[in-house]
């Protein structure tokens, strides 16, 4: 038993215990389990959103991209900011609609606004297809973190199973409130870890961040402008990717639904104001990736750059701390994703498909069962099919962003009915699948998902003129009353 191993195990266990006891008193129902009874204020909403947005992919992926690709990684700084600006205008009216109609999930929103079970089902399908690989990615990242940080004392698969079991326990018992408590641990640990290594590592090897950049500009002058070390990620790719992912940011069903847990609409707007500051850790992670490029060039897997540099530079207990922080960084979003996907499947596929009435208790049981089912599916994929993750994730992101026109028009244009939105959505998804499948990503220098979204928007707007039949959304659904 080594020191880093003990630190990591302690981290995971403490998080699970905090999560289980974070449920509060009283009986659990779907409203409490999935949206916390809609009582969360600015701080907890901020923690939750940060908890699910800054994932193990940010930790490892951002440093890996800085290491292997250079400037194209900067898109991560920009797209989040665009996403928050959009959320400033978009989430408050979404919240009000959700509050009035008792919505828990994103498909609930589509069903209520467009009165279309078909659109709601399609949204569930897109959600689950996007979430499972995302979940799988968290698990794979977690395995990588723990294996390297513990210097091989815990194998990747062992780490995945252990941390995942802990996550399932607290999500099963406590729902979103348990996740919120663990998110506090995760955010503090991640901020401390990133602040220490982001400033410390460049200082250790070069004296300061500025001197590190000076050395990098001397040795790799092309690394810090687009397209960096790539050939395809020029300015056009960056712009289209920033726009696509910025618009897709709150289209993920779990980020969309986390807005429902706020206690009022202003909380969300205030939250959007402060969220961009949460991008600073990403910057520090970039510093680590760049330092790693100069100190330990030529790694086979760039995603391991941050961990390899940490274990090389710090004593064992600190590597254990980074490993523990990294593990919790994977557990919180994984919990959030499982909870989101399970609520969708139970409420928007299972309940409508059952002919009999489904009581609240029944729905709660079903949601928890689906959570375990989804967890096991992602676990199986992470353990036995670790390939093509990035491809699947890209397809997932390109997929969820196609919901953007349906959401925006749903909120701001009362007279738009389901048909144009559905046509645009299907057209956009077909374009994305077609381009990626035939190897045309990037297409004319642009992200394929962005091309799909442009087609989607064009088809939707044309179809609004031609086939926007039917009555406008009724007054109860839409925003007409205070």
């Amino acid at each position: 038993v080594t020191v880093p191993l003990l630190v990591i195990v302690a981290f995971v266990l403490v998080s699970a215990v905090v999560g289980v006891f974070g449920r509060g008193r009283g009986a659990m129902n779907v409203e409490r389990w999935s949206v916390g009874g809609r009582r969360f204020g600015v701080i907890i909403v901020w923690l939750l959103m940060a908890g699910e947005i800054y994932t193990t992919f940010t930790f490892l992926g951002a440093s890996g991209w800085a290491y292997s690709r250079g400037a194209p990684a900067f898109y991560i700084l920009a797209y989040g900011t665009i996403g928050y600006i959009i959320s400033f205008f978009l989430l408050p009216p979404v919240w009000r609609m959700a509050k009035r109609l008792g919505l828990h999930t994103q498909p609930d929103f589509f069903l209520a606004r467009y009165s279309s079970p078909a659109l709601a089902s399609l949204a569930v399908l897109i959600a689950v297809v996007s979430i499972v690989p995302y979940l799988q990615l968290q698990l794979a990242g977690l395995g990588m973190i723990v294996e390297i940080a513990s210097a091989g004392a815990i194998s990747s698969n062992m780490a995945i199973v252990m941390a995942f079991a802990a996550t399932c326990v607290f999500v099963y018992t406590s729902g979103i409130k348990g996740i919120a408590w663990v998110a506090i641990i995760k955010d503090v640990a991640m901020l401390v870890a990133v602040a220490i290594i982001g400033i410390g590592l460049p200082a250790m090897y070069f004296g300061s961040v500025g001197k590190m950049f000076a050395a990098l500009m001397r040795q790799h002058p092309a690394h810090l402008t687009f397209p960096g070390a790539t050939t395809t990620m020029g300015v056009g790719w960056i712009i289209s990717t920033v726009l696509l992912t910025g618009m897709g940011f709150y289209c993920w069903p779990h980020t969309f639904a986390s807005a429902f847990s706020a206690k009022d609409d202003r909380t969300l707007r205030r939250n959007a104001v402060i969220m961009p500051l949460y991008q600073l850790p990403v910057l520090l992670v970039f510093f680590v990736g760049f330092t790693a490029l100069l100190v330990i060039p030529g790694l086979k897997n760039p995603d391991t750059a941050l961990l390899a540099l940490v274990t090389k530079s710090y004593p064992g207990w600190f590597a254990g701390f980074i490993g523990g922080a990294g593990a919790v960084t994977a557990m919180v979003p994984a919990g959030m994703l499982m909870l989101g996907a399970a609520t969708l499947v139970a409420k928007n596929l299972y309940r409508p498909l059952r002919r009999v009435a489904v009581s609240e208790e029944h729905l709660m049981r079903a949601t928890r069962s689906f959570m375990l089912l989804i967890a096991v599916a992602a676990l199986a994929l992470a353990l036995w099919s670790p390939h093509e993750l990035v491809r699947l994730l890209i397809l997932g992101y390109d997929g969820v962003a196609q919901l953007f026109p349906a959401i925006v028009l749903g909120v701001f244009a009362r007279r738009v009915t389901v048909r144009p939105v559905m046509l645009g959505l299907v057209a956009g998804i077909l374009v994305v699948i077609g381009l990626i499948w035939t190897g045309h990503d990037p297409f004319l220098g642009m992200n394929a998902g962005f091309v799909g979204l442009a087609v989607n928007a064009a088809v939707t707007l044309i179809a609004i003129v031609i086939v926007n039949a039917g009555p406008p959304a009724d007054g109860r659904t839409f925003e007409t009353q205070r």
């Binding site: 900067f74 009000r96 960056i238 707007r269 991008q279 701001f412 244009a413």
Partner: protein
């Protein structure tokens, strides 16, 4: 009749009293009751324009700043530009917040509680 600007919200409703609380495109409000009087002080268009400034800088600005020099605060210019706009976005959004936050907004949130 079918054609709508994406951000436009129809103000013709059966209720006869429209108090859309999230009019990003600034639709004229017909405040029927005195309690919605604060609505007239909102400036949704100004808020939207203000919020668009960082978006334009972070998207349309990129082709013009894709270079290393000048180095500012030790950072290559491209990174400095992106980081700078990320850091000032909360300032823009704070001003936008006060341009669209109203008394009506404050009461609407907890209306059902």
């Amino acid at each position: 009749m079918n054609h709508l600007h994406p951000l436009e919200v129809s103000s013709a409703t059966e209720q006869g009293e429209e108090s859309c609380s999230e009019c990003a495109a600034g639709v004229a409000h017909s405040a029927g009751r005195g309690t919605i009087g604060a609505v007239t002080k909102r400036h949704p268009v100004a808020a939207l324009v203000l919020a668009l400034v960082p978006v334009v800088a972070l998207v349309a600005g990129l082709p013009f700043v894709n270079r290393l020099q000048p180095v500012v605060l030790g950072l290559p210019f491209l990174l400095f530009w992106i980081l700078g706009w990320v850091l000032v976005t909360p300032i823009f959004l704070t001003v936008a917040y006060f341009l669209i936050d109203t008394k009506a907004d404050r009461t609407s949130g907890g209306a059902g509680q």
